[in-house]
Symmetry: C2
Subunit: 335 residues, 2 copies
DNA sequence: TAATTTTGAGTTATCGGTAACACAAATAAA
DNA sequence: TTTATTTGTGTTACCGATAACTCAAAATTA
């Protein structure tokens, strides 16, 4: 590998002079500059970012930690983050926790040793607390995405889960549904709790009774063909509609319904949080509360870069993005 | 930030002794080892990977360059790559070229300066040649994914595009279709050329005439509601089926058909290459030639790591993975 | 012409680790 | 007891760049 010393030697100057040419600093005669440039090109020289970072204490790397790389919400978010990062001269070090706290911890250790300039952190859930604390302890700037973590004071970009959930459920109620099941995430995730509150509120505001037997919990990406659905279907007074708390749960629900020979929306209306990205446009079918995923990433990255570059005040900022109710063909009045 | 010297001082030893404790090298008395360990924990010391890499000439970073992060084929591939990398102690530096040669070049420059140990490279197309050559020139090991680049001799993991295309088209022919349109990628991409050959071969083997007016070209992720489709629909003898050369093209085709009030498969049968990932399970609708995306990533990563660790011979290896024809409900006999 | 300023470099030390070598004290072998 | 070996640790140099400082030659000013 060609180093700055190879260039210096071949050009008959010192390494410092080459460094000055690279960075356009100090005074260099036009003649020398040209000579050095020529040698750099001849030898295809590329400065070693490791060595630079060691001196400058800056890697221009930002870590993006998401929980499910096959979930279109996160990939669209990643695109927003990447675009914003690139614009500001940062690169993304990408990590995928699979909603798994242990994997998340592994990545936090890696992040710390790599000395990234900052982290865009979509936490698995409340127990991410320790991992985030670890970042704080080492003074790595970070922005939390999508899920709020109790006990962590940091910049955060959230969707309005409660309001989005209320809109979805009220849409079902307006269609005439009275027995609405909630297939929710696990209770260690703030969005799951808030979506439950929205579900709750919609019932209360519309004078509908709540029934705990209509609520079940699953990991956001763990709804494989599941007997828990049978529990709902075999109730004395089974639901006529299901609210899935995110897109992947909806996929699982709909698959399970299909395996049982039930039609959506004929036999069961289904709504969910989060849309399905560009690929989902092939068959826009589900009524959803769509979150602005791209903006999540873009805004989060902007906040983070401001933090990194010291442009923001000490107080942590909290951005809440609205979701949009998109009514499609997975809902109809109960039969 | 705590350094190895802080630890050394507080433990009353030299930096080298601390280094030996960290790496379990050399001889250290049990007593010293314990003392150093204790100090490291007290100060939450984490070794600086930059400094280590500078000495060891190893970053344990692998760059994964894909062309479309919102395409489920690539995200599933990324998951396979990530799992394999993690198993071997490497991390992924993630990059997304958006099928854009200029963006790809930018990332190659970044890759070179970051001194990653290797690159998993899904090229945008034939003109990626120069970018790959750049990697070769700097002796960065890489494995090419999905698309073969003329003039580049390297390990490569491919899908069997020709065979997959032939299967899809023969499925349509078996249903009775005689006028089959091909919405293909651009000609600078090997898979587009091979899928055309498969399309071609299916016609030839089944005694069907080819008609160039049935073939159109678009970038693999650039089929937005498009008047080119009108060209096909307004032919004197319009197609009764469309073969889209990848999943995102199929999305565009189906959206366009819908906007024009045409039903799939009622008015038009549609098939495509590539499946739609976990999220696509919500409504398995399209008949596809599904490629084993996870294996693409996993296998590619294995080949790459063997290269990096010098376990493989000089000859470059070429792995071809079969695709699987999955017949679903987007196809039926012509009306 | 002498003194001062500007220009265009070079030297040295440092970022945070590790490889290679050195070396005193403890232990074992002759 | 003397010599050889082992053990545990320290010193020095270096990875590839840059910040801070130095300095001779050229240009400018008095």
């Amino acid at each position: 590998m060609i180093t700055i010393y190879d260039i210096a030697e071949k050009a008959g100057v010192s390494a410092m002079t080459v460094s000055r040419v690279i960075n356009n600093t100090g005074r260099i005669s036009e003649e020398t500059r040209k000579r050095v440039r020529k040698v750099m090109e001849e030898l295809h020289y590329i400065p070693n970012a490791l060595a630079r970072s060691l001196v400058s204490q800056k890697t221009h790397l930002i870590s993006l930690l998401i929980t499910d790389i096959t979930n279109p919400f996160y990939t669209t978010l990643a695109r927003g983050a990447e675009d914003a990062a690139k614009k500001a001269g940062y690169r993304l070090l990408f990590a995928n926790s699979d909603e798994d706290y242990a994997k998340e911890k592994d990545y936090v250790d890696m992040i710390l040793s790599t000395r990234v300039d900052g982290v865009l952190f979509a936490p698995a859930g409340d127990h991410s607390h320790d991992n985030l604390l670890q970042l704080q302890k080492h003074q790595i700037p970070f922005v939390v995405l999508d899920r709020e973590i109790p006990g962590i004071d940091a910049d955060v970009v959230l969707g309005d889960s409660k309001e989005g959930a209320r809109n979805l459920v009220e849409h079902l109620i307006a269609l005439g549904h009275q027995r609405i099941a909630l297939v929710n995430g696990t209770q260690d995730v703030s969005t799951a709790r808030l979506r439950y509150l929205g579900y709750n509120e919609a019932h209360r505001l519309n004078g509908l009774a709540l029934d705990d037997s209509l609520v079940i919990h699953r990991g956001y990406r763990d709804f494989h063909d599941d007997s828990a659905l049978d529990g709902l279907l075999q109730l004395d007074d089974p639901p006529t509609a299901i609210f899935a708390a995110n897109n992947m749960l909806a996929v699982g629900v709909i698959q399970s319904l299909r395996h049982r020979g039930l039609q959506v929306p004929g036999d069961m209306s289904v709504v969910c949080f989060d849309d399905f990205g560009p690929a989902g446009a092939i068959n826009p079918f589900l009524t959803v509360a769509a979150q602005p995923a791209y903006q999540f990433g873009q805004l989060g990255m902007q906040l983070l870069i401001e933090r990194i570059e010291g442009e923001s005040s000490d107080a942590s900022r909290r951005v809440m993005l609205p979701s949009e109710l998109i009514v499609r063909s997975s809902t109809q009045p109960p039969s």
